[in-house]
């Protein structure tokens, strides 16, 4: 891999940090500690359930919002502000720029998620006073959440490579919502007939499938996904990301800068 990708990724990460993106951790900490103290007080046997459900959902929501809001500006903002001129007039290939940006954003989210994960485990320890074996499943849920972020980052980047930030945000957010119901969509497509079936099936397979990546409720009930599902979800997320990034590269490669 070319070192330039690494440099671009690092600069993207630096931008996120200097734009005070990591301040979201404060909001997260407040939310989680507030909830932990509250359920710790009331104590009706579901503290663990509440902390895991709320904590992981918050990790996922905060991350999705960050991924979308940074992702949509990654390319279009640089075109708009013309900061790209002095980057692309260097020996930087356009695809390297896209890939570098992706890794930068993904890195930001991984770091952010890591900090939040510590928070979740902390809150869990506060309410349960100990860790049990099934708590390790939370790591799987967190891993799936990170996989989900990879997909969303690549999609935001894809939209950013051809459309304005506002539209990109709308697209990315819609896909996030639709993707969360991807299972329903595929099932629904199976119930239709004729041309609609072709169209619906195609669409159902093209939208990102987040429903298999969401195991928060199952993990809260101490049920983990099978190793096979972990493997296939990993592969799926990687291929989906590769697909969206290839699309972004194909578009950006052809794009006239303003």
């Amino acid at each position: 891999m070319s070192p330039r990708i690494l440099h671009i990724a690092r600069n993207t990460f630096r931008e996120a940090v200097r734009d005070r993106v990591l301040y979201n951790l404060i909001a997260f900490t407040l939310l989680l500690s507030g909830a932990a103290i509250l359920v710790g007080q009331i104590s009706f046997d579901i503290e663990r359930l509440v902390v895991i459900n709320l904590g992981l959902t918050a990790v996922s929501m905060f991350g999705v919002v960050i991924a979308i809001f940074i992702g949509i500006g990654l390319v279009s903002k640089e075109i708009e502000k013309r900061t790209l001129y002095t980057v692309l007039s260097r020996p930087v290939r356009r695809w390297e720029f896209i890939v570098g940006k992706f890794f930068g954003l993904a890195g930001t989210l991984v770091v952010n998620t890591f900090c939040m994960a510590i928070g979740v485990f902390g809150a869990l320890f506060y309410v349960a006073h100990k860790f049990t074996r099934p708590d390790a499943l939370i790591l799987v849920a967190l891993y799936f959440i990170v996989l989900e972020f990879l997909i969303i980052c690549s999609l935001a980047l894809l939209f950013s490579s051809f459309s304005s930030p506002l539209l990109s945000a709308v697209f990315a957010f819609s896909l996030f919502v639709i993707g969360s119901f991807a299972d329903d969509l595929r099932g629904f497509a199976g119930l239709t007939h004729g041309f609609t079936r072709w169209f619906a099936t195609g669409a159902a397979y093209l939208v990102p499938n987040f429903s298999a990546l969401n195991v928060i409720t199952a993990v809260a009930h101490e049920q983990g996904p099978s190793p096979q599902l972990i493997l296939q979800n990993t592969l799926y997320a990687l291929f989906y990301t590769a697909m969206a990034l290839s699309g972004a590269v194909l578009i950006f490669e052809r794009r006239n800068l303003k």
Partner: protein
Amino acid sequence: MTARQRTTIIAGACLAVSMTACVFLLRHIDRLRPKATIDDALYISSPTMVKRASLGFNGLMACIYWTRTIQYFGHRHFDRAHSYNELGPLLEITTTLDPQLFPPYQFGASFLAPKPPNGAGEPARTIQLMEYGIAHNPDNWQIYYNLGFVYYTELKDYTRASEVFARGSKVPGAHPFLKILAAQMAEHAGDFATARLLWSATFETSHETNIRQNALEHLRAISVDEAVTNLQAAVTRFGEKVGRLPSSMSELVTAEHLPGIPADPDGNAYQLTPEGRIQLEKPDDFPFVTKGLPPGYKLSGLPKFHTKL
């Protein structure tokens, strides 16, 4: 080849490969977790909790749960699964989210009440669902109809059925047949004509494929039951007149001045056994018939619907 062309080719190939891989992986994942959607959906099985969790998007969530219900039923039916345990909770969640959504009530009448393998076998739950529906939609005569239908078909409680039909017939704009049904329950509850009227009404008032197919199967079964009953009576008459059983179907036809060899709705002639019993040639094709079956007949496998809509 310029660097740009090379990138285009590689990115294009990458796009194609990863898209294919995604579809294959998704199919795998779906096979790994076939019931996952329903399991997920029912982790919170309390309808009120679901309603709270849907953050005010109740109507939309109701639609989603309704499609899940249909899918669940469709898959189970297709897979010849024996139970529909989750049907009740799904219908309850759907109707809690949107009490005005009518199709779930109709669906409940047709599939929640009947005994397995045709349904979930929960008539009491169905009646509760219907009463809930009537409480929220007092002006919808169709729910009264469906409730009466459950009393009639599943519980054979003709008095209750008659009451419900009568209640429904008072709703403004109610279909006139409710009045007729209410009246017929008293004397002619067991008549083929009554049963036919009911199932035809179900068929005509529904747009749901599963429900219509189910009604059509029942109508077929009713016409078989009626024909077999009539033919069996003819055999008895023949025996009283001639002093022996008819030796063949054509002998019976001649004696009774029938227009031709009688046949079931699929066009297969009814069989006459040496013991003088009228039987269906392919009883498996009529899952709901009660007459014309070989002695000790048990449906092999699960009912399958023959009619295509």
